[in-house]
Every structure is written in C-alpha cells, then in structure tokens.
Subunit: 309 residues, 2 copies
C-alpha cells in the first residue's frame, strides 16, 4: 500500500523522508533494536520476525495513545539472502499496511543480524498517555492477557514444566511470542480517556513498577482477576504466576483511569475488539501489593523479564 501523500509528502529515496502532522498534534517517536539470540532465537521465521520488529514499536505508540504515521528500518545482515528478505518484508509490510504505517526510509548494511526500527506517530497535544500520570484511586487495567509468550519461549527452550502444558496449544502460543498484536486501536481510543499507560514488554510486575515509580504512587493488584490462557491453567501455580506476572514479550497495555470512566472504557474495549480487564487499583504511597481473592497479600517477588538474559 503506497503511503498517503498528504501524510508522507516524501517517502523513500531522498536524504530524509518528510511527514506531515495534523495541526495541534505532537510527534511521538520510539526506537527499538532487535538482536539475534537476545530478542529472537536464531532461525526464527523471517516473516514472523518482520512482523515482530514493527509490532514492538507500534506497541510503544499504542501505549502513548498515538496514531501511527510511518517508520524507518535500519537492517544489518551478514549476507544478502533474497529469500529471507522477501519473507521479512512480507511480514513487515502486512502489519504496516494494517495500521496505515508505511516504511518511509531505510538503511541496509552488511554486519551481524540487527534490526532497528524507529516509528513515528501523532497525537493531539495534551492527550498523551504518559506513564507518570497515574493517581491514587485510579482503576488499573490490562488489555488481553499475559504469560503465553513466556510459556512458548520456555517450551521452545525445552523446559520440562513448559513442554507438557504447551502441548496441543503450541501454534497459538508461538503466535503470541512471534507475532504479537500491538494494541494500536485501543491505545488511540484511550487517549484523553485513560490517565496513564505503559506497554507490557518486560513482564507485568516489572512494567507496572516503572509506572508506579514515574507516577509516585502504589498499586494493589488483584492477581485472581488476571485472565489465564488455557495452557497456563495447566501449569503448576509457581510457573503460572511466573508467566502471568513476570513473563515478558506480552505487548499488552497496562493503564489507569478514573473509576468514573469504567463504562466508557468497557465501551471502547468493545468498539476496538480488544479484551480489557480491571485488575486492581492505584494506592497512595509507594509499593505494589499483590493480593489473592481473599485479599491476602501473596508472598514472593517477580522480577522483570530480561530478554533471554
């Protein structure tokens, strides 16, 4: 799909690309670098890798409430591999087209495999979903569900606890790991409605911690409200909690909103076709409490997920 000439007056082929923002809008930018063996396993299907490289960046736009405008790709490859490039390109452009986010510039060079995408979006001034904007009393929400990517990775790496639970659902789990769906429509719908947001890429608890720190408040997370995928329900509790709370690679939105917005947020979730669950509330002071159905504070700490670290 060629870029919209009004949005992208000049695309690939000059020293710079030119993009046009709507009046009264700010530019949102994010850049992510993906390295083999750290962000994806060697031998990952090129088409899925093309998808994921853009998806993780679109997820950052979604977490600000921005509308995608375009992206640049810088790619280092050990050798020219037409078949790999064709697959990568298909996966990349399929996702780009779905979100109206054309490739506007690029740089390719020879070197160890490295994918660097920078994505550009726009949002109305004053409507950004910043991570420092949560206040005590806000509801805490999660889009979709967490943990499946972590279970898929563990199964791929041959962890015994993961292989049994994943058996039978492996295609779905792999899709969560390798072709995450960034919550772009939901993020835009939440701009001006929700208060604070962050994308869950390093584990729910770890990213919630970033939001709490930036906002200077605490949270009570109702662990029993977290949606649990069927494969995760088959895990022993310790592994299930690890996946749900500290899985990583989820690319869901974690956001807060005034309790007065509950009906509106439910309506936006339906309108954008994205499941949203109220999983807790923001509290005064500092720190995160994770409680079960009875309100008992759960023991254990859940560190953030360090990519293959």
């Amino acid at each position: 799909m060629p870029p919209d000439a009004r949005q992208v007056p000049l695309g690939i082929g000059d020293d710079c690309a030119l993009l046009r923002l709507r009046p009264g809008h700010l530019l949102a930018v994010s850049s992510d670098m993906l390295v083999e063996g750290r962000h994806f396993l060697a031998g990952t299907d090129a088409r899925r890798l093309g998808h994921k490289a853009l998806a993780v960046n679109l997820s950052d736009l979604a977490a600000m409430g921005a509308r995608p405008l375009g992206f640049t790709l810088a790619l280092a490859l050990p050798a020219v591999d037409e078949s790999w490039l064709a697959g990568f390109s298909i996966g990349l452009h399929a996702l780009a087209d779905r979100h109206g986010c054309p490739l506007v510039g690029g740089d390719t060079t020879r070197g160890p495999l490295n994918i660097c995408i920078t994505v550009f979006g726009e949002l109305a001034a004053g409507q950004a979903l910043r991570r420092d904007a949560a206040v005590a009393g806000d509801d805490l929400y999660l889009s979709g569900r967490t943990g499946e990517a972590r279970l898929a990775l563990a199964a791929l790496q041959g962890e015994p606890w993961a292989r049994e639970a994943a058996a039978g659902d492996m295609d779905d789990l792999l899709a969560r790991l390798e072709t995450p769906q960034p919550r772009v429509s939901l993020g835009q719908a939440l701009a001006g409605v929700a208060r604070a947001a962050i994308d869950v890429s390093d584990g729910l608890v770890g990213d919630l911690g970033h939001l709490l720190e930036a906002s200077g408040c605490g949270a009570r997370l109702q662990a029993s409200r977290l949606p649990v995928a069927p494969a995760l329900a088959r895990l022993a509790p310790q592994h299930r909690w690890q996946c749900l709370l500290a899985g990583g690679d989820d690319y869901e939105l974690l956001f807060t909103a005034s309790p007065g917005q509950r009906a509106r947020i439910e309506a936006l979730a339906r309108a954008t076709g994205t499941g949203v669950t109220r999983i807790g509330e923001m509290t005064p002071g500092e720190g995160l409490q994770i409680v079960d159905e009875a309100g008992t504070v759960l023991p254990g700490r859940f560190a953030g997920f360090d990519h293959f670290g």
Copy 2:
C-alpha cells in the same frame, strides 16, 4: 544541555518521546546504522565515533534544509564498557548540543557493536531541498572540499601512495574522516534558495549521479574548480582524482541553484562560515561530463565509494 521543553515536551523515559513542530512545518527524518569494520575501523576512538554517528545523520537533515529537533539512539554493545560509553557519550552530546539536537529516546542491548541513530528535523512546507528538483541551467555547488577522508582511510590502511602524501597532515586528515562537520547551518540557509541538494557520503560522482537520476537531467562538472587540500595536491593525479571524485565519507553538500541566486548563495556561505564552490552546471538530457580547464572531457569512470567494500 537539557532539551527545550517547547520543542521536546517529553524526552527520555516513557514509551515514546514527544516532539513539537512549528505550525506550517514538515517533519524530516533519517536513519543510519553504523557497523564496526564497515563504517568505522575496529578500535576507533569512542569519542570520535559518538561524534560521527550523529554527524552522518545531521548531514542528511542538512541536505534537506531541515532544522534539527532531536534524535534517538539504539546501541548494541558486546559488553558494558563504562569507559567506552563515557567517551562515546561525550562525543555524541558535544555535537548534539552544538546543533540544538537533544537525545530524546534510546534503546541499549547486548550484541555485536552496532549504532543506529534516527534524527528528526523540521522545515517549512515547500522549502525542502529535494534531490529530484534540479533543472538544466542550474549552477552546481559543493560545500567544503572532498577527498581528505578517503586519503586518511587509505593512509590508515597502509596504502603506500597515501602514507607519503598524508604525512605531516595526518591529524587534520583524520579529523575529516572521524569527526566530519555536518553542514547544518548552510543547509538551513539554503532552504528556499537552492533548488536541489544531496549530501556527499558515498563519493562526489556517485552522489551527483543520484541527483541527476532523480532530477532527470545531466551535468557538466569542471574538475579543475574542485578545491584541493594540500595533502591531496601531493598525490599523483590518478589518486588525487580518485579521492576528489570518488572518495566517500565527505559529508559535504552538493546542491544546485538558479544562476540568478549566485550573489545570495555567496552571502549565505559567508554568513554560515562554510566555503562553497561553484563546480559546474546542470545540462539537458542525461549523463555527467567531467571536463578539465580547457573544456576537454576527461576519460575514466569514478564509481561511488562503497563503505570499506
């Protein structure tokens, strides 16, 4: 230097950075990836590398006539090396500060050394210096001079023809290779005055070829008008021409303008402290003629410079 809060309402630390463009302005973006052994030699001083990584991107903004707004850095490093990072950061930020172009976002990861910078600028709509805008009859200009970076690289690589000529000027030559000065002020001054522009990064003739192809015209290049650095004057003609015409890593501006703009361009060159030389003219039809003082067409072909290729 902290970023201007009006230009960068939100810098490092959230899912995205937010930038504000002035009304009536377009966003200009460019992304370059630098890989060890291809764009710089192993062991290059970290401070100089930090400078160069941003300089090559600022040169792209300059070639569009854009004003720098900010940049993102994605960096893969084999291991955390505080001393290297400190040097890299000093070189990077010194150049960024000089051009009012703050770091607004970043991503660091473990992996083979790779530096990916995406730079953002703004320019008034309709004033971009596109490479497809040249017309027959335009004057052809070059900022600064070409060839010194190529001579420095050849001397570093131990080429006998280069070592002798470079001796005595090696510090200056290395500065041209490792800390190029992007022509940011000149580029902005030329917006709305010059017609077409491109930055000379892959060799004068190669990049001129890109401009001719995009604009659908030809050019006559007066080779004897090219400024020659003292060290290049000591080279045998064949090596001198190779450096001047197909050197690479020059980061000068090659641009065209109507002959009616000569006085204005001379004034802008003086005002921005950047030497500018009229080196030829655009011609109807296709192709590039390189002529000597007598107007005789010179033989030989000068391919573009492929980074260390």
